[in-house]
Symmetry: D3
Subunit: 251 residues, 6 copies
């Protein structure tokens, strides 16, 4: 039994509230247990300089935490004047992950800006950000598609992320909260498509190591959790948009 | 009649949700029309270097906007590596205003960190921040007081803020939303105590000017709006904490 | 009686030396008691990117203090690598104030850069900066106008600033020096036009408050001091340029 | 057959020159094909503030590339005034990986600073950095151990890293050079201990995905390459130091 | 004959106004032709961390130009967020030069902060800064000495600086103004003591070279100009303080 | 006799390995005793903005030290977020020196980027950088010339640098290593052309001074050392390229 009474392969309660903000082209508030992230997707009608003239789009992400998302107040990165390595790592991951589920040629020379702002942090903020940002991005691109600015719908598959880890007890569990994350021997983030393909796999044994068989156990735990997350995404997006995504997958 | 059908001296709907976050010692989500700000108050058990050994506390504020709080995406200050002049001006104002309603000696050598994060912006974010931050601070200090860490309750009066302005029609109005704010000839922010004393008055005729009689009209509009805001603060804080504040005022 | 023997409504000795530097299009050394500020106005033949193509000009200001303008040496902002909030607030105020006395369309797509460098500080550096910068700007624009680069003279009225405050004695005084400023309960900066219209009003009761009747007293003190400052500006600018400004006011 | 004629599971020629620099406590020049990295290990007799008093040591890494390590000259991060996200990600990875092979308690309150400076880059600079840095660190710690500053030898196992990927042909290969890396569908970095345990696994399908069976193929390719790298490390370190490490493993 | 009618070995008019500012322990306004620099010397009762406990003092300098000291407005270094290489070079030179004329042990653990702020620039700002800063420093140290805070007077000799150069005509001249400096083939700054010893020699043939005999000619021109500058320094410092310096020289 | 047994006018062993790196257009590893610097020259087909349209080229240099080039680890400038004054001074010197040996018109609108990265430091890193960078630049320009991108060979003479100083014994020596440099009373860097003309002369008596006769002694020591360095450069460059440079000198 886990700290909060969950089964090893049980996610915390997940809720995705769509169109949480009025200004962005797409936005959600994703809640995973006590972790809460506002994800927004903004469409800009140009690409960064290094991509101009290639006829394809770009997806980039920024990630931040409110100072009191955490138990101890964290100093703002704007006050420090620089973004930490952890933040950079996370925002590079979010952008890279989302790009794997989108045909960049189908967006045209546009940039999708993803903003993930963590309102409250209790472990798994980067995976909640990816899962929520996918929904915000789908809403923003649906809008572009419906207003005839795109010839085809650019999303090719569902995409979500979760964390898995090996607790001190040696048990493999899914969706670690902060106390579990701090105590875990191994911590792995898995980003997958709805079809079950890996997009990103980041496993680390901070001051520890893990074996091949533990890896297999972790991956199978992740798969179970992700299956549930895809259902929640579909529910949040509704039947019509979910079908659009499914049809992209078939191509 | 105003853009959104309000009377000149009518505030937008205001709501203050207390204890919005689980980590900060005090927090609220304040909603003023479409403007939404998360305000949190964190207690740190030391003061900045320049105040050490004086036996009194300090209150300081930080203010930020999510990139898509605005209609056009705003670049993050953490990405730019510096805080804009506007942000600095606002966070200095919030801190200064709150300090006027608190006996700093009664806090002891502690710092109250105020964080105002604008989730959605539709005009009046700095005044909403002050009004909400006062409530978050009161909740945090109540906690300190109830756990016997303070000898007396340090808040001496209610404190709230609103904006007033003169529209192109020449009419003085209260609580301008973003379209009104952009079009107004004169824009004034007024911070007041529950007893009707001024704490801060900032009036500016950007590329315009205003007369003494217009000033009088603006101040009376502000007073009316603020009376309503104090009621909403009292309701959010509840009877017991409101009475504590009222008793501080009498001293 | 005040620290330095002045009457409540008496300014310190004010002197404006025009054309203090040889390079700027306009420059002054303004002396207000022991406060000394070099103000220069530079004309640049383009506007910032966000204003291009609008056919109007822009006025922007920068403010700085020499490290030993103050009693204790202040660290240079260039060494710290960033501009403080106080400096940003002041330079935004100077720019905004000056723009209220100029028809930006009449300048064409040009920027007037105002530089206010405080050589010696004894209170009231921001208001001395505004009063001096107005004269430097007038000299620079006169030059443009006389060389036929402008169709009409763009300045529409005189503009000056002073501080007022309420001393511990409860008395309202004008033009506070540094010891008065440090001890005052309320501090207010007033920017006005020669016609007596308000341009900017910034009153603050740092860790204190003020009543409506005190506000009225402060404003009337400001008005008296400003009347004297307009005379000094006229003398510094000379009859011909003063008339040009007066004629702009009439339009 | 690969671009450079190698077999799929064949490493490029690897050479580790120990004690390359005279000043650091440990240093190597590691050459992997045309990739060349100077790795140095410096011992500092204190730990960062957040670890003081815990009685254990810390290992941290910095990574940089000479501007012309690359085909096109890269702007120096010192000139830009900030470290890129890529660099931060790599230096966090190097530090985390090395910490997994060391008992931090056995170092005492000391910091091992690892510096990896890429002289020439042809793919795999982060994995070459880890493989080389392990050797530099072992040399530095051997020194501490031999001068009786440590009670036990703190390294618990060999540690090396390599990259694996899936080429456009669908073939899984080990130790990608730059042209292969740019064209690969999937790119994975694997850090392992001499005992065959995973320390870090980072697989990414940039704008692509990979299946479970491809993952298995990649991991088995990595294992083969790493076996060869451990041999090269042992040769570089010599019998005595290698035995010390082996004995740590047994504990 | 030179642009401005001077003889080759003739300085521009030099004037040193002592105690120009009221706050610093020592200050001057030095005027060299159209070049004007405010130099101030501030005494701080501690030394930088790297010198603590050595029982000796430190002298450090900062240099800056007002934006319109120059013909074209120069962007403020505080706005750019960094100090240029030219500024760094100059402030390192000023500090190093002054330290050569002072017995640092005799100051005790104090720092003399030199601030050189160029109000108007017409060539030779760094040499004017050194010549003026020496006087400001002497005034500040005299003060310390007279108030019995120092056992002996720490200045060991006069110190001044001038520039010399070779014009396009091939003639060696002293004290170049800006047009001469821009056109000169060789530019050399010479810092000397009152006894005729070199403290610093920086000669450069920007995109040009110079011979040994030209070097000799330049040095003799410098010597002549410096002799005049020492006289002007003595006059500014007065007989008593000049004697104090002379007596230090004899030791 | 010197610390390391050298005669006063004897250089340390100097070796220049050409084409040390595969990517830059020209590169060397220069070894001067224990000082080792990688110098590379990169050709960019444009000039900085301030030179566009003038039809001539530019040469600019950057200088850096690996953290453990020094006895104590030096913090990376990229981690500090800024370049130190010492680095700026050195890179400005290198660029200025090299420009004196090149006809910038003959390069066309191209920039030669010089990168000097100190791998190991034992005194004289800036002079070794200049001596090595000249060779790297010659190799890069030879390449341009041979591929017919230049009409004439732009280098007009050999160029090298060395340090000279006066030891505590009063003796003038050439090519100081780090212990000598730290103890020397006077330190001078001399940059000369193959024809014996001065390009740059920087002499400083840190907390000391030097006489005219000492200067003469230093310059003659420098000349002797430089004669040897020009021979080593010629050998490194080979007969053909050396002749090209010699012929440029004649013009």
């Amino acid at each position: 039994m886990r700290f909060d009474g969950r089964e090893p392969l049980q996610l915390r309660p997940v809720h995705i509230e769509t169109n949480y903000l009025k200004n962005p082209e797409g936005s959600v508030l994703i809640t995973v247990g006590d972790t809460k992230v506002i994800c927004s997707a903004s469409i800009e009608d140009r690409v960064p300089p290094f991509m101009r003239g290639e006829g394809k789009g770009w997806i980039t992400a920024e990630y931040s935490m409110l100072p009191r998302a955490t138990q101890q107040r964290t100093i703002r990165e704007s006050s420090k004047g620089k973004v930490t390595g952890r933040t950079m790592e996370i925002q590079r991951l979010i952008g890279r992950a989302l790009r794997a589920a989108v045909q960049l040629e189908a967006i045209g020379e546009r940039t999708v800006w993803i903003d993930c702002d963590v309102i409250q942090a209790d472990g798994g903020t980067r995976t909640a950000s990816i899962t929520g940002a996918f929904v915000a991005m789908a809403l923003a691109l649906e809008n572009l598609y419906k207003t005839k600015k795109l010839k085809s719908f650019p999303i090719t598959d569902f995409l979500a992320a979760t964390s898995v880890g090996i607790l001190e007890s040696g048990e493999a569990v899914v969706d670690l909260n902060y106390p579990e994350d701090s105590a875990a021997h191994v911590d792995m983030n898995v980003v997958m498509t709805g079809s079950g393909e890996f997009v990103e796999l980041q496993g680390t044994g901070e001051e520890s190591t893990f074996s091949y068989s533990q890896l297999q156990e972790l991956l199978s735990a992740a798969q179970e959790g992700l299956a549930k997350l895809f259902e929640i995404q579909k529910e949040a997006l509704g039947g019509e948009l979910s079908s659009l995504i499914e049809s992209g997958k078939e191509e």
